[in-house]
């Protein structure tokens, strides 16, 4: 079975590398937690997909600094691509910390150590513990925190020649044409992997048309710092300030890319926040900005559908059923965004029930740790 092969390969890699990582951690003065939930569940599906976590093989581990007993996050890899990604993330963190044209500083967990030994890279950052995670905060506070995190990114806009020179090589600078090229590739692959899914194929054609027709409104808001995976698992709240995690996902592009990611996420986890943030843009910002937000939601939904469609062949059993359900659900969400309609909450609830019944226990544990939901 394809699923067994992919998962088995990941499990073998993970167990082998975890042993090496533990040895290295002790050498550098850290102790790794026994359970490493970030490496389990559906994590294996992300390996090899460049746009999800970079595609290289790496482990995100939780440990403790033996000297001071403080919890730390460790990114470890001995794979060439994985090492490159960790190094790139570190460069991105350094560049973002020194952006000279930023109006609002970006907060991130402090770097504790960056070490290389025995062909592996070991990158340690502070673990920011939260008293109350975002999704457990009162609804108004959730909204304000999310908005602060989004505005924090909008404070950096690379528009002058000197700005682009400063960030282009390390962080990248996406234009509307770059987004269109990516979308073209996603759609091409989706059609190759799922040619019989007529409703998906026709929705994608409409999505592409919508994007092409409004290309200028994508470009208008490009050049801003944006986090491609701006969702609660990449945020930490400390003293009411938002700290960003995963700088591998930070680049310069359309400022609504991070909004779009969060809004699409909130369709599942808090529809009230999704609607409130949409409404916020509609009533406080220009009509061009509201359109740009819809365009980027479309882009991120096509990206998500691509991820599930190309993951389908790696799955079997309940996970395959769940992947099919996901494709169907997100196609409906994409249609709703294109038609500027809200997705009925009953549809969301029905999907969530089905999803929860099909998820493996390892994935439930990974989600629990990622989103601190329970």
């Amino acid at each position: 079975m394809a699923n067994k092969n992919e998962q088995q390969a990941w499990d073998e890699y993970k167990n082998r590398e975890l042993k090496k990582a533990r040895r290295l951690a002790e050498h550098f003065g850290y102790h790794l937690d026994e359970a490493q939930v970030h490496t389990g569940g559906e994590r294996y599906l992300m390996t090899g997909i460049q746009d999800v976590g970079g595609g290289g093989k790496k482990l995100v581990l939780i440990g403790t600094n033996i000297n001071d007993g403080k919890k730390v996050v460790i990114k470890y890899s001995s794979d060439q691509n994985g090492i490159k990604e960790i190094e790139q993330e570190r460069r991105a963190r350094e560049t973002v910390a020194k952006i000279p044209f930023s109006y609002i500083p970006l907060l991130a967990p402090a770097e504790i150590a960056f070490q290389k030994k025995d062909g592996a890279v070991f990158f340690v950052t502070e673990y920011i513990s939260e008293k109350t995670p975002l999704l457990k905060q009162p609804i108004q506070k959730q909204f304000r925190i999310a908005l602060d995190g989004l505005k924090m990114q909008e404070g950096s806009h690379a528009i002058a020649h000197s700005h682009t020179k400063h960030i282009e090589k390390t962080l990248g600078l996406l234009s509307a044409n770059d987004y269109i090229r990516s979308m073209d590739n996603y759609i091409y692959e989706i059609e190759r992997f799922a040619p019989d899914n007529r409703s998906l194929v026709s929705t994608l054609a409409e999505a592409m048309r919508f994007f092409h027709e409004n290309k200028e409104d994508v470009d208008r808001y490009c050049g801003f710092l944006t986090h491609a995976d701006f969702a609660p698992h990449n945020l930490r709240i400390k003293d009411d300030h938002v700290y960003l995690l995963d700088f591998a996902s930070v680049h310069f592009g359309n400022k609504y890319e991070s909004w779009a990611r969060l809004l699409n996420y909130m369709v599942l986890y808090n529809q009230e926040i999704e609607q409130a943030l949409t409404q916020y843009v509609k009533i406080n910002r220009s009509k061009e900005e509201y359109l740009s937000l819809r365009l980027m939601r479309v882009y991120k939904l096509v990206f998500l559908l691509h991820y599930y469609v190309i993951s389908l062949h790696k799955t079997s059993g309940n996970l395959q059923l769940l992947t099919r359900e996901r494709i169907s659900f997100w196609t409906q969400v994409l249609n709703s965004v294109l038609q500027e309609k809200e997705i009925p909450s009953k549809k969301v609830d029905d999907f969530k029930k089905r999803r929860d019944s099909l998820r493996s226990s390892a994935e439930i544990a990974r989600q629990k740790e990622l989103h601190q939901l329970f």
């Binding site: 109006y103 609804i139 909204f143 528009i159 002058a160 208008r220 609607q275 916020y280 406080n284």
Partner: protein, 183 residues
């Protein structure tokens, strides 16, 4: 009246004089004035009835200042009122245009950071004072940013009323200056 607004920043920029310049252009156009905005940027947001002339920021500093100067010179007609927002990248071209066209300038201090910076830098300070020697009026009482409406909270009626009052007062002061312009 024919009004030319010179500003270093304009939406999609979000800081400094950008939101003020757009709101001002919108309100002046709604009052029947012929409004043009000369700004740096790329793809400015549109306002019905407002003509926006954009100078790319992607070029080296001297080139873009010359381009701005040429755009401003072309936009300012004999009957135009030239109202600029402070900042050396606009003050310098506006100063030159004011000398060529023999026109006075009205300055709005909507970017306090640029003013602070000018006080610390000799060249910027010279540009600022030279521009001020050509002014008809300086306005430092700029309306605040529009209060935000948060969907899950009460409508900020009090702040919104204060915002509208500030704009009414500001427009009255501006139109008064416009009437006396050039006299």
């Amino acid at each position: 009246m024919n009004i030319v607004i010179g500003t270093p920043l304009y939406p999609p920029e979000m800081f400094g004089p950008a939101p003020y310049s757009k709101e001002l252009a919108r309100r002046l156009a709604a009052r029947g004035h012929e409004v043009s905005v000369v700004t740096y940027g790329r793809l400015p947001e549109s306002v019905p009835g407002v003509k926006t002339i954009v100078v790319s920021k992607r070029e080296a500093l001297p080139t873009r200042i010359i381009r701005y100067l040429l755009s401003l010179k072309k936009t300012v007609k004999n009957d135009s009122i030239l109202y600029i927002q402070n900042g050396p990248s606009v003050e310098l071209p506006a100063l030159i245009v004011s000398l060529i066209k023999r026109k006075k300038i009205i300055i709005g201090i909507s970017d306090t950071n640029a003013h602070t910076l000018a006080q610390k830098n000799k060249i910027l300070s010279i540009i600022e004072s030279a521009t001020r020697s050509r002014t008809q009026a300086i306005l430092s009482d700029i309306p605040p940013h529009k209060p935000e409406i948060f969907p899950l909270e009460d409508y900020p009626k009090q702040q919104m009323d204060a915002y509208e009052t500030a704009w009414k007062k500001h427009l009255a002061a501006l139109e008064n200056i416009f009437k006396k312009y050039g006299k």
